[in-house]
Amino acid sequence: MSITGRTGATPPDPTRVRPYGDTLDDGQVQLSFSLPLPYSPEATEAARLLVKKMGMLDPRVYHAKDLGHGYTFFIVYARCAASVDATQIVVPKIEGDRMSKKEVDALIAERIGRPLVILGATTGTDAHTVGIDAILNMKGFDGEKGLESYHGFETHNLGAQVANEDLVAKAVELRADALLVSQVVTQKDSHKITLGQLIDMLEAEGLRQRMVVVCGGPRISHELALELGYDAGFGPGTRANDVGAFVARQVIERGLA
């Protein structure tokens, strides 16, 4: 495959996928990053060399901005010679058709016959409730109302920086059917430690098999969630009806209600 890209109207080849800029397969990418160097021609050259060392071809520094305090921000254009075979990729996904709020409520009313108790929290040191609020609270997100507005759920939003053991204690007290855990902003991968510890605590308490446990956040994939012992992981763009449908289906499939 030529690195300069194709000129004809040839179809994309999914077995050799490469970034697209001006023409198919030309490998054009844009990278942005900051370096701990004062704004200078030397810093610009450092940025260019760094991108070259990443294996990129023909790096060009398009934009450099002095961030102050000896730091500089860069936008670099370059060409990527690597390609991937997209036909060989298998990514675990949450299966099941999308359901509306009305359909989720109807499913719960018909198959479960009582509201499911859901506890939500942002755990550990994370203080960002934007994700859990979007899923649980009445106002919801992007025109989709939160689970608080559903007849099929009794929701308890415990807020931010909830210790795992407090979440477990509340789950015992309220006889929770499902836990939603959010991790939005964490440092040094502390989210995986916090998330893993919750599962160990639920196992220790003998609750894990009795409830649906899901997590969500910008750094959480479904695959990571499964590895951590959760039933599902929801990334950015998830809406309340996605989570509600998953929880209801899991409760029914596993006979938890």
Binding site: P92, A169, V172, K192, M201, E205, S221, L226, R254
Partner: protein, 336 residues
């Protein structure tokens, strides 16, 4: 070498790690290859996901899980599409996961598999019962730093993988490993300290008249206010920092908290130290630690001296075999 460390009566072994990327998969592969060389058929499953090509967090390449011919593997249906090992499906388990049904397969051609789909202890126990008639040894692979697979009601013994991902120096790694091992080796309650089996499913209290059921099933939930003191408290579930504070309030000075087993004790080191100053803790069942494996690779991809790491960890764990599996695992160790 790993196989020799297992107690003679062990039919179920857990392989757990002190942290993600501590070398658990490498230890698992070593055990599988060694059991194969010894002619022992193994059944294997993972609580979590193992054998995936790349780390779910860092994206770094991960070692595959290599399974010899004849191995029984329990994994979710969707993972079989990526297996390089040849497999025949023996049966379904009826356990449905987001990755499809958990299946039991037999390896017909050695190669790599991804282990996934098993989410909790109850599933592990039922799957082990399914595997056991057909295998000499069952291996439960843990996930991340989770210790649930080591539950003595689930597995007979434990292989613990540790490494420089825990701390960049051998001394730091040994210190943290020793701390975890101390927890796994919490003392077992003596004959006079054990809660009767008929009371062991819920919290119980012991005063002069003996054990009796507690006013709540667990110390982890709401607990009625009371000034009464007891000489022993039994907690069947989670032992957390809050549980220890409640137990301290319920116990006479010098009193005993009985946990079900060490995998339920997840309180912080600081809370455990504080508790131990005036009270004691013991478990109904203990964890048998068969061996510790060491991995010299750090988070940043650099590697330390594995022999020095093994020596340093061994010095902190007298009586426990400490093994650097990478120095002896045969590359072509699969029986074909």
């Amino acid at each position: 070498m790993l196989l020799e460390t297992l107690p003679a009566d062990a039919r179920r072994v857990a392989v757990i790690g002190v942290a993600k990327n501590a070398g658990k998969t490498t230890a698992l592969n070593a055990l599988l290859a060694e059991a194969d060389a010894a002619g022992r058929t193994v059944g294997v499953l993972s609580v979590g996901v193992d054998g995936e090509a790349h780390d779910a967090i860092s994206g770094a390449p991960k070692p595959p899980v290599r399974v010899p011919r004849g191995t029984l593997v329990c994994t979710a249906e969707a993972t079989l599409r990526t297996a390089s090992a040849g497999v025949e499906i023996l049966d379904g388990t009826g356990i449905h996961t987001p990755l499809g049904e958990l299946l039991v397969v037999r390896v017909t051609r050695p190669g790599n598999v991804v282990l996934a789909g098993v989410r909790h202890r109850d599933d592990v126990r039922s799957l082990l019962l399914r595997l056991e008639p057909d295998v000499a040894l069952s291996v439960v692979d843990g996930a991340f730093d989770r210790t649930a697979a080591a539950d003595p009601a689930t597995t007979d013994c434990v292989i613990l993988a540790t490494g420089l991902v825990l701390a960049p120096t051998a001394e730091g790694c040994a210190e943290k490993t020793a701390s975890l091992v101390r927890r796994l080796r919490l003392p077992v309650a003596g004959p006079g300290e054990r809660v009767p089996p008929e009371l062991a499913d819920a919290a119980a209290l012991r005063a002069t008249e003996g054990w009796r059921a507690a006013p709540a099933a667990t110390l982890s939930g709401p607990w009625p206010r009371s000034e009464a003191r007891f000489d022993a408290v039994y907690q069947p579930g989670l032992v957390s920092d809050a549980t220890l504070l409640l137990a301290e309030r319920l116990l006479e000075p010098g009193g005993l908290l009985v946990a079900r087993d060490p995998t339920r004790v997840l309180a912080s080191d600081a809370a455990l130290r504080r508790f131990a100053r005036g009270r004691r803790i013991a478990c109904l069942d203990g964890v048998r630690l068969a061996a510790v494996t060491v991995n010299p690779t750090r988070h940043d991809g650099t590697a330390g001296d594995s022999a020095a790491l093994a020596r340093t960890v061994a010095a902190r764990l007298p009586g426990t075999p400490v093994i650097d599996v990478r120095t002896w695992t045969p590359d072509a160790g699969l029986r074909c």
